[in-house]
């Protein structure tokens, strides 16, 4: 019997090629989108689960209460990890990891500005499962000036030679550092990522009191707890621990940290301490919902196309029943057919997704491996889900088909009845509701992206070339030499530029009441020209000026957000007030207008600026727009002459700033692609449905034509029904989309308002697409010769 079903199924498929094509393509497209999203989601969920002890590893974070605000730090102070390890027997092991930013590494003529470097305690390899190919897990990071390289980094410097015991010159001072280990490249789905690890003892030797620095921040810390230890109970012991070790200092500085333990597996997905307002998990949810939607659309297509075609299968059902088939057997047969279709679509899906994966990776900015396509268990699981999809999508059509009464269908007195039509229309409405919501979403996401990129940021970022000198001693000479290049209109030096990192400084500022108020202030070290060159507006007092000798050490400029924090209602009031910050004291000389030194997702934070030439490693050069390549070449020539040891590294400020929106841009692109796909699949369904509905109305069209109906009139009549459905879908989709997008926009501190135009645009787009799809069928039916259609009756 099964054989017979297969036979009929395959013959049916090959006989009705257009139908099968629509059905299989629709399903395969939906399943491909789903599979890609599934890969993306499972990649995101796989972060850090390769560590065998991951359920016992916790990241230590701190909420630091100052009189002004509470700071959510992603790491504790330097002293916490080593001291807690000694204090609490619950902690099996503790490690500090301090990201190092850019580091110059040299071996003879080979030199690279390494960007992925960190210092770490020797317990690193005891806690994390990073694979050490060479060297000892326990001792490789013990001695000062020890370095462990990733496999690919080692190859950069040593080729195929054994790097163990070799010497690399690290940092500008070129300290000889010994290679004591080579680790396998850290996998993409690791939250802790680095190519070069230098032993923590290297810096604790230089800064002797780092291990007892309770107020200095700058490293991550991870604890490996002993089996069975309750992290919540341990957390409760931390306040007493901090109090006993550092109580007096806390009172003096008025900074009260509270320590928390974040489970390692939650850090990547759930933590909002990594700079972004929304945790990764919310994107995961959004895409999971999109995947379900797309699959739903594809299944609806399938149901619609199959039931619409039931007229053609009715005769077969009648005959089968007459010769003895029961309802159950027929239901089984039709479900079987839909499963066969799904399985065919599934193999197409595998092909499509393996072809699309590189593109998808690029779009999503991930490196999702193709391993899934070779793992038999996963493939089997996916095949299983394809069969389940076939089952779910096949049930309704199968029930409809198998309930036909042979008496009726064999006499040819057959119509699908209003019940089925209503359901199919409902399904089309559902499809278009989802599609329209996705279109609206895409438009709004893009508008927000556009807004963020074109918004006046309050400073000049055009034609601004930023050169990172990494503190090279020759940087001042290099800086001065830029004056000799005519295309460089102006230049200034600073510790930070907008869109990049900057220190947060423990500061005491005189507030409205006249007290010195403690706060953590973002801090830019700048030179005298920086504010002018960046066209940052001074709204009270003055900017830094060479005429005032005290400006170099005793002057501070604050932004509006800062003076608001200290209680001033107008910028004038803050001028001349006292400050203490990082060992300097002086007066506030000016207030600058707020500018966006971080992305538009974040509120503008209080910011302070001071002159400190020693810390100004970044040079911003405002260059003329003409022949940029030649200008850069000229600058590079100077660099090579003066700082030959370092690679010349630069970036354009506008691009650098926009890099903050990388994940939003990716999000938008993914969103766009899936929305387009959803629309396409919906259209496939609409196309199929329209063609069957016109076939069913062939006789009506013939009669109307004989009576004198025009082609235009007929097309209108045939299209009207479907357009009504699109309109209903629009009415349902709009409030849902509005609500969802309203929430999404809340995650941006600076955002567009949700205007009507995105909704109108999406509605028109859906209408246009539907008209184009339906009218093709309608026109075909309307121009046909009525004699032909009437004769078939």
């Amino acid at each position: 019997m099964i054989k017979n079903y297969f036979k009929v199924a395959f013959r049916n498929l090959s006989r009705h090629k257009a139908f099968s094509f629509l059905n299989i393509i629709g399903l395969a497209a939906g399943m491909t989108a789903c599979l890609l999203i599934f890969l993306y989601i499972s990649f995101e969920l796989s972060y850090d689960n390769f560590h065998t002890k991951s359920d016992r590893i916790y990241r230590v974070v701190a909420d630091i209460k100052t009189p002004t605000e509470t700071l959510n730090a992603d790491g504790p102070s330097w002293a916490v990890a080593p001291n807690a390890k000694l204090e609490f027997p619950e902690i099996e092991s503790a490690v500090r990891i301090a990201a190092n930013g850019q580091v110059l590494v040299r071996k003879g003529n080979i030199k690279f500005q390494e960007t992925s470097t960190a210092w770490a305690d020797s317990s690193l390899f005891n806690i994390f499962d990073f694979k050490l190919l060479k060297g000892d897990r326990k001792t490789s990071l013990k001695e000062p000036y020890s370095i462990v390289l990733s496999e690919s980094t080692a190859r950069k410097y040593f080729g195929n030679n054994d790097p163990m015991g070799q010497i690399l010159l690290v940092d500008s001072d070129g300290k000889p550092t010994k290679v004591t280990g080579v680790m396998k490249d850290i996998p993409e789905n690791s939250q802790v990522k680095m190519d070069i690890v230098i032993s923590m003892s290297t810096i604790t030797q230089q800064y002797k009191n780092l291990d007892s620095s309770w107020g200095g921040y700058g490293s991550y810390a991870y604890f490996l707890l002993k089996p069975g230890v309750d992290p919540k109970k341990l957390e409760k012991k931390f306040p007493g621990f901090l109090e006993s070790r550092n109580g007096t200092q806390m009172k003096k500085s008025q900074m009260y940290p509270t320590l928390f333990l974040e489970p390692l597996r939650d850090v990547y997905l759930h933590s909002t301490r990594n700079g972004s307002k929304t945790p990764v998990i919310s994107n995961v949810y959004i895409f999971a919902i999109i995947a379900v939607f797309i699959l739903l659309i594809a299944c609806i297509n399938f149901i619609n196309l199959t039931t619409a075609r039931s007229t053609e299968r009715a005769k077969e059902v009648g005959i089968r029943k007459v010769v003895g088939a029961g309802k159950k057997q027929l239901t089984g047969q039709f479900i079987g057919e839909s499963i066969i279709l799904c399985v065919i679509a599934f193999f197409l899906t595998l092909l499509l997704s393996s072809l699309l994966l590189p593109l998808f990776n690029q779009l999503a900015g991930k490196k999702i491996s193709e391993g899934i396509f070779t793992d038999p268990l996963t493939l089997l699981m996916l095949l299983g889900s394809a069969i389940i999809i076939g089952l779910l999508a096949g049930v309704y059509p199968a029930l409809v088909l198998s309930s036909f009464k042979p008496v009726i269908v064999l006499k040819g007195r057959f119509s699908t009845g209003t019940r089925g039509i209503l359901l199919r229309k409902g399904l089309v409405v559902a499809q278009f509701t989802i599609s329209i919501a996705l279109i609206i979403g895409t438009i709004v996401v893009y508008k927000q992206m556009h807004y963020m990129r074109t918004q006046d940021l309050g400073f000049n970022k055009d034609q601004m070339l930023v050169i990172d000198t990494d503190g090279d001693p020759a940087r001042t000479a290099f800086f001065q030499s830029l004056n000799t290049i005519p295309q460089v209109k102006s230049a200034s030096a600073s510790s930070s530029v907008p869109g990049g990192g900057n220190p947060g400084a423990y500061s005491e500022i005189e507030n409205k009441k006249g007290d010195l108020q403690i706060a953590n202030l973002d801090l830019y070290f700048v030179d005298f020209d920086y504010i002018n060159q960046y066209k940052i507006k001074i709204i009270a007092g003055r900017g830094f000026n060479r005429q005032f000798a005290t400006d170099t050490t005793q002057a501070m400029v604050l932004n509006e957000a800062a003076i608001k924090m200290f209680g001033y209602t107008s910028p004038q009031q803050a001028i001349g007030k006292r400050f203490k910050q990082w060992g300097r004291e002086g007066k506030i000389i000016g207030v600058m207008k707020d500018f966006h030194f971080r992305s538009l997702q974040q509120e503008i934070k209080p910011l302070s600026m001071r002159i400190e030439p020693d810390r100004c490693n970044l040079i911003s050069a405002n260059i003329s727009g003409k022949d940029v390549t030649a200008t850069i070449a000229a600058i590079e020539k100077k660099w090579k002459a003066m700082i030959p040891n370092r690679p010349f590294s630069y970036y354009f400020l506008d691009e650098f700033f926009d890099r903050q929106y990388r994940s939003e841009v990716r999000f938008g692109n993914l969103f766009l692609n899936f929305a387009v796909l959803a629309i396409l699949i919906s259209c496939l369904g609409l196309l199929g449905l329209a063609s069957y509905s016109t076939i069913q109305r062939t006789k009506e069209i013939g009669v109307r034509k004989v009576m004198g109906a025009t082609v235009m009139g007929l097309v209108g009549m045939l299209s009207k029904d479907f357009l009504k459905l699109v309109l209903i879908a629009f009415v349902i989709a709009s409030p849902i989309a509005w609500f969802t997008l309203y929430k999404w926009l809340q995650s941006f501190a600076y955002r567009i308002s949700l205007g009507a135009e995105a909704f109108i645009l999406a509605g028109l787009a859906a209408l246009f697409i539907a008209v184009a799809t339906v009218s093709y069928q309608a026109i075909k039916a309307a121009v046909a010769n009525p004699v032909k259609s009437l004769r078939t009756e």
């Binding site: 005769k315 005959i319 029943k321 007459v322 029961g326 309802k327 008496v407």
Partner: protein, 228 residues
């Protein structure tokens, strides 16, 4: 001879929202085992309704229907299907073959649903195709056959399960006279080998092949001519 079918006061009324059509009006009818009965009458007299009820494809509203001594007028669909597949074969005016199946597969279909083994199926299908002289067409699809050939396939399908009763609904209606005669010969032959046949027809010529002609009008039998 034993009664195969005994129908008493059978009624069937079709209702739409506004119109009520009486298709069968207190109809009485007996068919003995081994008989060949022709049912005749003008369009709309209830012939097809009667045949559908006889074939257990439809159920009467009131009245009694005994099949082989069993009262089955109000059996549910599953029970009726069960009796149908073991006892009744159908031949239609428009052949009603499944286009996606070959001649062999079409004939095989009833055997599949009664659960006959593959080997046995092959044997029986080939036997009956041989008898109908369409063995050489076994791998063709219905559209590749002439009308007469298609109807022979349909007859083959009707008899492959060795049913006790064959219901034929204008079996020659779509055929020319020579093909029509061939089909009638086939039915006669089957009847001579013991199969009961009830045939609805418009053709006096075809009706003469039967033993007895039942004439219907407005849902009732009006006359009976016994030919043999």
């Amino acid at each position: 001879m034993k009664h195969m079918i005994k129908i008493t006061n059978l009624e069937k009324i079709y209702r739409t929202e506004e119109v009520e059509t009486v298709a069968l009006n207190k109809l009485n009818m007996d068919v003995k085992e081994g008989e060949f009965v022709a049912v005749m009458g003008p369009s709309g007299c209830g012939k097809s309704t009667l045949l559908n009820i006889l074939g257990l494809l439809d159920e009467p509203d009131t009245g009694s229907f005994e099949f082989n001594g069993q009262e089955i007028a109000h059996y549910n669909e599953r029970k009726r299907a069960d009796i149908r597949k073991h006892n009744i074969g159908f031949v239609f005016q428009s052949f009603n073959l499944i286009d996606e199946l070959t001649v062999f597969e079409n004939v095989e279909l009833p055997l599949i649903y009664t659960g006959v083994s593959t080997v046995e199926r092959k044997k029986r299908v080939e036997e009956v195709l041989d008898k109908m002289q369409i063995m050489h067409r076994r791998n063709h699809y219905p559209q590749q056959l002439s009308g007469g050939q298609q109807q022979r396939v349909a007859v083959a399908r009707a008899v492959v399960n060795k049913p006790k009763l064959i219901l034929a609904d204008e079996p020659t209606g779509n055929l020319d006279s020579s093909n029509g005669n061939e089909v009638m010969e086939l039915l006669t032959d089957l009847n001579e080998h013991g199969t009961t046949i009830i045939m609805v027809t418009h053709s006096e010529h075809d009706a003469r092949y039967s033993h007895r002609i039942i004439r219907m009008l407005d849902g009732q039998t009006v006359t009976e001519n016994i030919l043999v």
